[in-house]
């Protein structure tokens, strides 16, 4: 029976029958992930389970990226719990301090995730690795504790929505716009309990970074995973990250999809998600003139080198508006160094930006860019829930790096082509 990407990957990791949506399968996992917020709870559950060691010390990643560099005493205590656990268990992939990056930018870069893998993480944006053809999904801490102890977990095989993008992209339109457009169409629960599978000429032409940006936000439509076929680009990316043995991966011809959507990108403007849900999406021109107080460029969605280059191309030789705080957070130490070596920091600093360390920081209202009541932020992050970045009376608009950069310069929302 021909299988979807989700069914194929699940089947490769289970002795159960994963060929049909709705079945419950027990799967071996390739990598288990938690961070400084979710690992302390996972460790509590791990102990309660009576587990003495992790199933494989090379297949557990603990990344302290959310409230780090530690923002206060309580968060320092949490990181300490994670660090001591990592040392006790001999966990190979423990990251804190100078080696830490935003987890979903860091793990692909380190070659820890790739096609046909099953990755479970105590972080909802674990779905990012679908950009590489991994069945990767977020779970809670106790599920992650179970997976850390057993090396396996259970899944309900999800039905799949096939999404194809056709047409020619306009300038300043990329992965972020494609996924925001989809979420705007199907809504924040449009893919609830479902897999999204991306296809079409536009997807084939998209960079791996762009695909990860899209997969990252599958959860904002309620999706379990956002899957891309693994093609030559994927294999080149994974090989460059030091992986060996990866193979191309695609859905079988004739696989059964619950829905088949084809979206035309012709004439599509850069997309912006307005408060307070990621499905409240409009073309940027509709929002022209809306004053902004802050612009954040970074996060697991758009903190990769391609994103920083995109922002720098707009900011070069220009200055952020005097009323706008522009914050740039390269997502990993490698990206940080690369941006520095390419001279992007000079562009950012000349534009009046703050360049910060790799951290999730402001995206979830943690630190390094919290909003006061009445303030408005244009951000390349993934969520604009009420109060997400600070005060319940603040507003977050989600966009691509190009739109965030252009809006920082103008002091109001602006199409980058209209600077």
């Amino acid at each position: 029976m021909p299988n979807t990407l989700a069914e194929k990957i699940l089947q490769a990791h289970t002795d159960d029958d994963a060929s049909e949506a709705g079945r419950i399968v027990r799967c071996r996992v390739s990598l288990v992930l938690a961070n400084d917020i979710t690992a302390p709870l996972a460790i509590k559950s791990f102990r309660a389970m009576g587990a003495k060691r992790v199933f494989d010390r090379d297949r557990v990643a603990l990344v302290c990226d959310h409230f780090t560099p530690n923002k206060d005493i309580d968060s320092a205590e949490q990181v300490k719990v994670v660090r001591e656990f990592a040392h006790e268990m001999g966990v190979t992939h423990y990251y804190e301090g100078g080696n830490v990056g935003v987890e979903h930018a860091l793990l692909p870069e380190l070659g820890l995730v790739g096609p046909n893998d099953i990755v479970v993480g105590a972080d909802s944006h674990t779905c990012t690795y679908g950009g590489l053809g991994a069945f990767a999904t977020g779970m809670g801490s106790t599920d992650i504790a179970g997976a850390m102890a057993l090396g396996e977990t259970w899944f309900k095989v999800p039905p799949t929505i096939r999404v194809a993008y056709e047409g020619k992209l306009e300038p300043f339109v990329g992965g972020k716009d494609l996924i925001l457009h989809l979420i705007g169409k199907i809504g924040v629960s449009g893919a609830l309990y479902r897999a999204l599978e991306f296809h079409g000429a536009v997807i084939d032409a998209l960079s791996i970074e762009g695909r990860m940006t899209m997969a990252n936000m599958a959860i904002e439509a309620g999706g379990k995973v956002g899957l891309f076929p693994a093609d030559e680009k994927t294999l080149a990316y994974c090989a460059a990250a030091g992986r060996t043995g990866d193979k191309p991966l695609k859905a079988d011809a004739g696989a059964v999809y619950e829905q088949d959507l084809t979206l035309s990108v012709a004439g599509m403007q850069p997309q912006v998600a307005c408060p307070h849900l990621p499905d409240n999406v409009r073309g940027v021109d509709e929002l022209k003139g809306l004053r902004v107080d802050q612009a954040v460029i970074g996060s697991c969605t758009n903190g990769r080198i391609e994103d920083l280059r995109e922002a720098a191309a707009i900011l070069k030789g220009r200055k952020a508006h005097k009323n706008v705080r522009l914050i740039v957070l390269p997502a990993t130490p490698k990206i940080w160094r690369q941006a520095m070596d390419e001279g992007l920091f000079s562009i950012f600093l000349d534009a009046g930006a703050v360049v910060g360390p790799p951290t999730c920081g402001p995206c979830l209202g943690g630190h390094m860019g919290i909003l006061a009541g009445g303030e408005r932020c244009i951000a390349t992050t993934n969520r604009n829930f009420r109060g997400r970045m600070g005060s319940l009376e603040s507003e977050v608009y989600l966009s691509s790096p190009a739109v965030a950069a252009a809006s920082a310069i103008a002091g109001e929302l602006l199409h980058p082509g209209k600077l």
Binding site: T38, G140, T142, R386
Partner: protein
């Protein structure tokens, strides 16, 4: 378990940042998390809750972040049951793992109003609205999840599997 309490109705797409904002995620303590339950929806929301009250929500309850602190905060506030039109996927699993009872009732959620007195038989999946006399029969929990519940939750389930491997 028979739970009798007042219904506290919330809206659609209640995200986990509304249930427990990130600034409170610097602890794993149930009581502390509980005292800040729904602080991202309305400051001081939790003050209206008495032990064994029931939260009632529209669609996609618990969307967003995977933080297990969300079901823990609801339990910590003294709420043992959430009834919703539908639940977000990660939250649904987390609720089960934490022992928070989640009942998905679809459009029947309209039969429950803020302030109604409810009696919930969690095992039978029956909600009686004592204020209106209406009864709602909930969809059955998937068989595998019932197995987990019967084992006492995910923690004892994993414990048993680990012991079997020794």
């Amino acid at each position: 378990m028979l739970v009798t309490g007042k219904a506290h109705k919330v809206g659609a797409h209640i995200d986990t940042d509304a249930i427990i904002p990130a600034r409170f995620l610097v602890t794993t303590d149930t009581k502390v998390l509980g005292s800040n339950c729904m602080e991202g929806l309305e400051p001081g929301w939790v003050k209206r809750v008495s032990a064994n009250d029931i939260m009632v929500a529209e669609e996609n309850f618990g969307c967003g972040s995977s933080r297990e602190h969300a079901p823990i905060a609801i339990l910590g506030a003294g709420i043992p049951v959430v009834v919703a039109k539908s639940f977000a996927r990660i939250f649904y699993r987390n609720g089960f793992n934490m022992g928070l009872v989640l009942l998905e009732v679809g459009d029947d959620v309209a039969k429950l109003k803020d302030g109604d007195k409810l009696e919930v038989d969690t095992e039978a999946g029956v909600i009686k609205n004592l204020s209106t006399g209406e009864t709602i029969i909930c969809a059955k929990v998937p068989a595998f999840m019932q197995e987990l519940l019967d084992a006492g939750g995910l923690v004892p389930y994993v414990k048993k599997r680990l012991a079997a491997r020794q």
